[in-house]
Symmetry: D3
Subunit: 136 residues, 6 copies
């Protein structure tokens, strides 16, 4: 996915969080970080047939997938406001699909790296909208 | 085991959960239970000026409000499916508003029982739709 | 908001919680909800031989069984008072057996739905006493 | 590795845990450790009127008191068996009182070090029975 | 602190995590994100004298500061290897000081934004070493 | 309450904790307790080929190993001060190695009781230094 230069310079200078004080800073990178981890876990799972390793991989993938869901839920409820949903009518569906892709019907229920890649692509779509709203 | 009629109409006949195996059972009562707690905490907060009690009340209200958000997010992502969102076009907005009402701009940020009542009313609207979809 | 009779008899009229402020509301449905989930997980485990699914089922069953224990412990310590234990001399043993049934010697250690059913029956016995004390 | 006598009598010779595999080792020291912390927090709270410090103390005391409850519940459910309850008929009441003393009506609800001391004394009574059963 | 262009383009393309499978990806941004939140919380705390808001701010600052500690500990134990500690003899002290600055003697114990800024500067020093080791 | 000499030398006289208020008490026994549990889990794992039991053992070993890491990190950051690191120049490396031994390259990644024993030996070395600093 293409990103304008402005976007590629951002994250580290705008590191952000999601504490619902609110502290006022948010960043879709938090969800993406965990989704990258999920993808790497799937790849290691496919490459290693040791049953102890595979069980550990599934335990940890379950946790990381859940973190993806939580980070996305925080963006949906705490960051995005009514005007955003008005301007981006697909936003509700997008976040709903992304969180489903991080759950039982997606990255939790599958150890296929391709499912994790679909999840990453969805998160990128949300991030695209997020950064547009930050510039606005 | 015999149960008197009164008892048989109570929670245990509709008990449900949300583990994303998924186990297949869900119930908006889980969100409502925590929201009832939030309301009771607000009432006790208003009736008690002891600073230690008030600090404890705020600590616990923060936790319970967060549980409301989590239970609602689970319904939105794990229980509700595309056909539900099609049939109830207000559903996305409803859940989004309910989770906002459980957060900083609602029950987390306020110790007014009326805010907790608004939250409860929103949860009831979601529950109404939920039970309709279960009957369908 | 109007509610049909069927709806008004459901969970939301008895919603309760357990925060140890205390907020003052408790409900054995919280333990039952998780035990229902444990039973459903066992059934799905028996019906599905896929090793990834089975590992996920055991991960989640461990969590849900633990929630059963926690909800019951809260009732035992935070809701039930000395007069209750006097009136119901079997109550200590009942809760102790129920929490053991949710642990290693019960629903944690077994994936047999019958064990989960025994757990549910014990929780119902506790609930029976609970609702009697609420009426008193 | 050589250890001076003083050291060899210390915790590491009786270290134990409570994971409900079960791993088979338990130790009332885990509850006592957190109760000691609760008492120290109360003492520091009474000695420091800075409102920020006091709020932090209440936040942390709430967490530590809860750990006391959890460690005691684990002993009650996972370590103690029917023959123990038969031999020590006061054991149910003792653990119930101890967990209540760690909650809202005890160390959670009060910042008085004396309440924490009562809690410690109750834990010692449970520990006394625990160590007797280990010798048996 | 000056950062070479290469560094400023990084994070979003190298999003990473810390699950100890290990998945193999790490990023000091995770610690920085929470430290930014801590700083923002301190600023809002100083600007708002409402006691309910201030209590909430302290509750949340405690949590966020702890996340900073956890993310740094993960880097210290899971990412950095003996050759790194050999090449950067100050690294142990640096991470130790940073985690102390996130604790009681730093950001937990103080609501002064300047303390959070010192924490951020320390994290940047760790990040500088981190990115050097990634290039090596 | 009277206690036999044997009992009075046991854990309760050295009970300690780690809450970062700070309450001021710490004890390496907390890390050792969880490491003992890890070792017992490994032994039971090797002695039992039932796949459900083995999966449960790996789930719980993952949790207990993580607790070891957390307890050691707390000692390293919250208890040990610059003069300690000056007096014991090996201390940084020792704690770093111990936490690595509790992670993926040690007790998390292996179900061999010998790995848990190595971890226990490392913890004992840290405890030795800890108790020396307490006497100083
Ligand atoms: Ni925030
Ligand atoms: Ni479920
Ligand atoms: Ni409550
Ligand atoms: Ni155990
Ligand atoms: Ni990882
Ligand atoms: Ni402490």
């Amino acid at each position: 996915m293409f990103k304008p230069l402005f976007k590629r310079l951002l994250p580290q200078t705008t590191a952000s969080a999601h504490c619902d004080l609110p502290c006022g800073v948010y960043d879709p990178a938090q969800a993406r970080i965990e989704a990258e981890s999920v993808k790497a876990i799937c790849e290691k799972y496919q490459a290693n047939e040791d049953p102890e390793f595979r069980t550990r991989a599934l335990i940890i993938k379950e946790q990381r997938s859940n973190l993806v869901k939580e980070h996305l839920w925080v963006l949906w409820t705490d960051y995005f406001k009514p005007p955003h949903f008005e301007k981006y009518p697909q936003l509700h569906t997008l976040v709903n699909e992304a969180t489903k892709l991080a759950g039982a019907s997606g990255a939790k229920g599958s150890a296929d790296p391709k499912v994790a890649e679909e999840l990453l692509a969805k998160i990128d779509q949300i991030a695209e909208i997020f950064w547009e709203t930050k510039k606005a």
